[in-house]
């Protein structure tokens, strides 16, 4: 299963928006799949506040079955790095 973040907008920076995004996608998620891919293509800017809210929701459902697809976007790279450092 693949989640395309661009469906939630191209600027993903606030906590309320991250929470709203996860609440919106939650009913469509199948908790039994073996892997969930997160696709960052089309995202202009991502920051830790949005990502923390959205990925914490995904983590609760899937744990280590979440896979971040590669991205050249520097804000995606920096955000993932700081979430992993926490």
């Amino acid at each position: 299963m693949k989640i395309e973040l661009k469906k939630f907008g191209d600027v993903l920076t606030s906590r309320p928006a991250g929470r709203e995004a996860f609440a919106a996608i939650r009913p469509t998620l199948d908790p039994t799949v073996s892997e969930v891919q997160v696709d960052f293509s089309g995202v202009l800017s991502l920051s830790p506040s949005w990502a923390d809210e959205f990925f914490r929701g995904l983590d609760g459902l899937y744990g280590n079955r979440v896979v971040f697809l590669p991205s050249d976007n520097p804000s995606v790279k920096a955000t993932i790095a700081i979430l992993h450092a926490q």
Binding site: S14, R15, A17, S45, P48, S49, W50, S75, V76, T79
Partner: protein, 243 residues
């Protein structure tokens, strides 16, 4: 369109701002500085629009953040709600992305402006001392973004979880360097660490003040965080991003 004292033809507006008429036409087309068009196609500008554009953004924000009674600020620079800030940040990000001179900076600069601006709302919700909301202004031509709020400030926020913090300098240092949240037990507290890391790793300058403490990272080398005393107190948070 009748010419009034408040409406200035494009040639005079160009002289006032010290740019060419062609530049003003380009800014009008891009939305950077919209003009008004007469039925005959002539461009005019409101005098107060030009004055606001010419005002130094940072001084405006600093005065707003420091004053005992909040002075009026231009509507275009004020976001009363987080949704309004979100919409304006989207606009800025897309303007940056479409301009070849700023497109490379758009992802990270938007992300750190978003973290600072959203912090203002997240940490002051239901707790604004007087005026809610955020000053958010930018000049992409000068490559500067300014944000300010009249909230409770970083020390008051962190005192909820770190009651032994002695002063603004210590609070700002903790906020910029440690994973600690003023909204525990929520998993928060990485926003200003992100701002610091991004500014240190990239050609981005930051000056972020809360109370009498100011954290700075120069745009050029040396890329290190310095926390020092500012020359005046401000109420909430005041930040300048240069890129």
């Amino acid at each position: 369109m009748a010419k009034s004292n408040n409406l200035i033809p494009i040639s005079e507006a160009a002289k006032y701002l010290g740019v060419s008429v062609m530049t003003l036409r380009r800014w009008d087309t891009s939305g950077k500085l919209p003009g008004l068009k007469s039925p005959g196609g002539h461009r005019y500008y409101h005098r107060d629009t030009l004055e606001r554009y010419n005002a130094e953004l940072f001084r405006l924000a600093q005065t707003w953040a420091a004053s005992e009674i909040a002075p009026d600020i231009p509507v275009a620079d004020y976001s009363d709600t987080q949704d309004r800030f979100r919409a304006r940040l989207d606009t800025m990000a897309n303007l940056m992305d479409r301009n070849p001179e700023t497109t490379g900076s758009a992802p990270l600069v938007t992300a750190i402006a978003g973290e600072i601006g959203n912090n203002s709302f997240d940490h002051n919700l239901g707790n604004w001392p007087d005026i809610p909301g955020l000053f958010f202004g930018y000049d992409l031509n000068k490559r500067v973004i300014v944000l300010a709020d009249r909230g409770v400030g970083i020390r008051a926020t962190l005192l909820r979880v770190r009651p032994n913090l002695k002063n603004d300098t210590e609070a700002l240092t903790v906020a910029m360097t440690e994973f600690v949240s003023g909204r525990t037990p929520e998993q928060r507290g990485n926003g200003l660490k992100f701002v610091r890391t991004v500014a240190i790793d990239n050609p981005i300058g930051i000056a972020l003040q809360s109370g009498v403490a100011i954290a700075t990272i120069d745009k050029e080398d040396p890329k290190t965080l310095k926390v020092s005393l500012a020359d005046r107190n401000i109420r909430g948070v005041l930040a300048r991003i240069e890129f």
